[in-house]
Symmetry: C2
Subunit: 401 residues, 2 copies
Amino acid sequence: MLKISQRAVALPASPIRKLVPFAEKAKKIGRKVYHLNIGQPDVQTPETFWKAIQNHNLKVLEYTHSAGLESYRKKLSQYYQKHNISVSYEDIIITVGGSEALFFAMFTCMNPNEEIIIPEPFYTNYNAFAQIAGVKVVPVSSKIEEGFKLPPISEFEKRITDKTKAILIANPGNPTGYIYTREELEQLKDLVLKYDLFLISDEVYREFIYDDKQYVSVMHLKGVEDRTILVDSVSKRYSACGARIGAMVCKNKEIIQCALKMGQARLCAPMLEQIACEAAIDTPQSYFDSVTQDYVARRNVVLEGLSRIPNVIYNVPSGAFYLMAKFPIESSEHFCQWLLEHFEYNNETVMLAPAGGFYATPDAGKNEVRIAYVLEVNELKKAMTCLQKGLEQYLQQTSTK
Amino acid sequence: MLKISQRAVALPASPIRKLVPFAEKAKKIGRKVYHLNIGQPDVQTPETFWKAIQNHNLKVLEYTHSAGLESYRKKLSQYYQKHNISVSYEDIIITVGGSEALFFAMFTCMNPNEEIIIPEPFYTNYNAFAQIAGVKVVPVSSKIEEGFKLPPISEFEKRITDKTKAILIANPGNPTGYIYTREELEQLKDLVLKYDLFLISDEVYREFIYDDKQYVSVMHLKGVEDRTILVDSVSKRYSACGARIGAMVCKNKEIIQCALKMGQARLCAPMLEQIACEAAIDTPQSYFDSVTQDYVARRNVVLEGLSRIPNVIYNVPSGAFYLMAKFPIESSEHFCQWLLEHFEYNNETVMLAPAGGFYATPDAGKNEVRIAYVLEVNELKKAMTCLQKGLEQYLQQTSTK
């Protein structure tokens, strides 16, 4: 009998996707749905980017070098320099989004069935890429009550086996918005030196850091240049999610060489967007300042809204545009679906991301949600009111059952 | 000790890449190099495409649906209808180039260590994707002397084991330009039905078919809709290699569902190019007629040039823009390097692709080259003269040694 591959069947489905039909149904009956469930910012892509798309004079849309346009990589190395990351353009491979950079990193570091330790909650798609690369995710729990700081190194050590090959972090974190301190990164450095591991760091939210927090990249660490890999993307930086431009950065020539062979197989990243991203590096600082200001204001609306709800635990993020909240409920999946299916306040409701998908430990985070503050302040205020009223009503109903 | 993954190290390097430094050196000393080694056409990308890039009114470059823009998929299903391929937009996943479609197809059909039979010579990158997917390529030889027609089905059957899961063909072929007949496809159909295999077909050159040859797609075959997968790309169709837009088309819902999960992990294909490709479907037929005319003229120049060279065997392609030639030499790799390193005629030389990389059988095709006729007729004539003079001189030198 014809059978498709079990590993493909086993690929995780996004938990948010299950909610989509309910959101669509709500909209169909004229209900307004505030989307706090997705990482798609409403921020405008900068003019520098759009102008480059308008002003190119290409006649033939050719392949670029498989590592990316040399001029873009050179300019990108200058961009990194501004963040005190010293890399040559030869240490950079332009990828199809951060997604591809992550996959290249996992594949070049790890053989099938080897293990990668990731602090949870983490970006859901790490699971899918691990599955595609045939490697095993080993979670180590960070806690909402502790603001998602790095778990104790002893917890990492407990999970290290002879199959452990790498540690993966996101900094600033998605879904937590947490920013690792220099001390935490130094601890990770000692760990990867001690056990001969790679340290992969997804730093796509580096432009979104608030409260004068300091951004420390794995590329700032000394003495681990052979084992640190930076995963990057322009998706959030320039609000250009649909550009599909990312980068894998590494000073280990062997890693770059192998990643380049993967790159040659798929030929190149899209050319027009590489040109536009090269131009976007000259986006004035005022653009980022204004975006950051907006996010701080938005975050504060969410924090203020949550502070009004009794028995909710949440973290105060200093980066990215997400935070996690834990409600006094059994199942956030059920609650999120209920909000879309059975609740309205002034004919409005709110869509959140149930947090289960961000954890690899079974049942972890099942009463938590991720809130993406990607709406304007006035919309966000109404969304938070919906959430408050929704939770009240949900708890009343549940308790009377 | 820190070790990168063996499977990454084992990834095949492109054989053409080895020649690149020699081509660069030749250019540095002022030599003109005719590039017959690459599949990058010089044809202009159609106006329909460029206008859509100019005229969009996006402010935020957002993610698209992971299966691709619905409007593009709907229009694409109309495009396929023109080729008598009846598919709904729900049977289509827009991919990042044909490359990703191929990877999705291999991964969804096959478990690790399973086998895929491919008639050789075949597109080099099939090897890399098989390696990344952890599956094994089993070659079955087609012969230049027979114009690369489908090998006898008995040869396929000899290679079928309990690990065989799929057959992969390219139609029209790269590097051969061969077009499979309906009879050959019916034979493959019987084979995949008999042994419960998937039939994956890379048909990215369907617009380039000459001599009134008939294009028969695997999607035309009746009774195998559950096991045929079409791999497609706009790279050659619209001379838009750098757009990175392809498609995986399949009527097996389970395959599409799993491929979509892979698609969701990497989020989406680039948005702007999806918009442009949707518009490019309205490219007037005159564009393709003129391109096809050019390629026929170019092919004829190459055939005429080869006919003047003694002891050369070559096939007459009716599709794509490649052909294969077998020279009375020991090693085409050595010859191709020699052309760049030691030869010139009027301070010009020619770069070809040694064919070894298109074969999986060790030593197969080692005296063959692939010729891509992607230059204008007058340039091609000079390139063919270079090739003729080069081969003469090479043979003289070799025989006097």
